[in-house]
Amino acid sequence: MEIFLQQLINGVTLGSIYGLIAIGYTMVFGIIGMVNFAHGDVFMLSAFIALLLLLLLTQVLGLPAGLAFVPVLFGAMCLTALWNFVIERVAYRRLRGSFRLAPLISAIGMSTFLANFVTVTQGPNNKSIPPLLDHIIPLTTGGAYDVTLSYKQILIVVVTAILLAAFWFVVQKTSLGRAQRACEQDAKMASLLGVDVNRTIALTFVIGAALAAVAGCLFLLQYGVVKSSDGFVPGVKAFTAAVLGGIGSLPGAVLGGLAIGLIETLWGQYFSSDYKDVAAFSILAITLIFMPSGLLGRPDVEKV
């Protein structure tokens, strides 16, 4: 029971990170109907940017690590957003109106490029930082296994919740969100009514990247280690989360993220940790085959 509770906590933490990445997938899919395959690598890139900024602030400027975390978070968000803005501009913008698979193929190329760009510039090895914020709160004591909750885990869940609320507000209440939803429903009509479609799409990429950067920072905080091949598998899992939650639906993305995080940790605990990726990939296949609209998504209507 204690182990189950502990894995539940770990799963929710991991799931929050997946959820943050999944929002990027789900938004881009919603607005231009494209699987942004490079998003997982944008997440990995943001973790690297955060790592470098953290080292820069702590080693060169001598800030304490706890204090440095906030500027690192903002710096990583801004720089990753710039990256994704340029990626959208360079790799995807020209492809609207090209044949259907063109953006996906371009995104696969971009994903390969990003993963190898980081390998080339930073080396293929694991980069680990000393643990930050490693206070823990024991939840149960005296049993065979002590369940603990760390400050990091609280921080991760709280940050995810706050960002989700803020983001929900943006999409539902602001003019940007309205423009986004309009483009999602009918880009051509929206542009006829004076919505700058290109700008809206670019902003969607920027927001998605900023959230991925938050996920990257939290990932670095929680696990303390990142390597250049870390974009692929979390990326596919976050995409699974987006699909499971119903692609195009924001609460669905977070819900799916939590579900994937929980399934992965529990599967790793009770079945086999070697095959824990198989669990996530199987869910992806099963969801797409049997329940393509996911938990909260609308059924996909094919327009002729």
Binding site: I49, L52, L79, L82, L101, T112, F117, N125, K188, V304
Partner: protein
Amino acid sequence: MSAPQPLLSRAFKEASLAAVIVGGLSYPIIAFRAEPDFNNALALTSRWPLFFIFCGLGFGLRFLLTLWSGRPKAARGEAALALEKPGATSKNRWLAPLGLAALIAYPIVILVVLGPQAALKWVDTFGVQILLYILLGWGLNIAVGLAGLLDLGYAAFYAVGAYAYALLVPLTGLSFWALLPICGLLAAFWGFCIGFPVLRLRGDYLAIVTLAFAEIVRIVLVNWDVVTHGEAGLFGFPPVTFFGLPFIPGPRGFAAHFGLPFAAVHKLIFLYFVVLALALLANFVSIRLRRLPLGRAWEALREDEIACRALGLDTANIKLTAFALGAFFAGIAGCIFALRQGVVSPSSFTFNESATILAIVVLGGRGSQWGVALAAVLIVGASELLRELSFLKAIFGPDFDPAQYRMLLVGLAMVAMMNFRPRGIVSARQPTITLPPVGGRA
């Protein structure tokens, strides 16, 4: 003539902006590198010269680009309008037989010119390897190029073929020639099993599901130690023989039988001709099928699935044949791979492998046989050449490993192709009638 001055200043402005953006992109990731120091803690080393080179490149390229695109229209030349004339095809009539003759002569010429020892590398890496990728490219081309099914898990079928050979040889004792079609059929069967549930999905979902399946296959190969020996892989299966004659130095070997001096390259030359024959088979099958109703249906499906369904085509079955046939050729290629490598391990069948094969098809122009062959030569040849460029180490320092740039360039090439020449380096077969693009997503 008021153009030059504003143009220059505009170019300068845009170039400065580009430099700032490149600077922002590369600020931490290029300007610094984190490496573990003696205490195993990460330490930063700065690379400011590299950073400024990148910013300068961004500035210079943008400056030139703005100047170039800002020139008056007439000065730019009409190169973009020079479309290929229909008459150009008559020239191609001699291309195929000539190319074939060159391919057949290639290993023999290499052997005669370079001698048996130096010929090894040329026949193996630039011969067998490139042909293997051409075979894979033509196989994937059936699914991606003809039927428009983006298969991101092609390496899984490749792996099925390779592992089928490596596992079945000790188990059944059958020869290579008997196992070759079995490997292909097994891979096709897997393609059928995987394709059956997923081919109802829309294009990009299909791509992701095939990717997921390929990863599952790879993870199983890594972890199912009892059968696959995990990361170490399978090895020790018997090498290829010339219809029963082994390629060994002794009196019962191939060389002695034909009165030739023994050379290791004989085996590779034989393998070369086997792959060549199989690649030509794949080519022949896809060219012939294209003219049959099935191939026509594939291409129609690629252009417009809804219209096909409206016309009463059984889209699921049509897709399934393309998918399984593509998988069949991957299985055959896997079999050859096992023979050539002598060892089969999961690390050969990662997503990078699928991406490389996909890049070959994309560069070749989804559907063009010539294009795919040319792209395979380009990609495999370029990555082999990168390995050879050791003199770059002298310029960039001992840490510089040119082979690392292979996948980086493959990725960039895919993005560039989609943006600038989505129909491939060799212009692809265009559908006979095209509609003007309607815009938006269909």
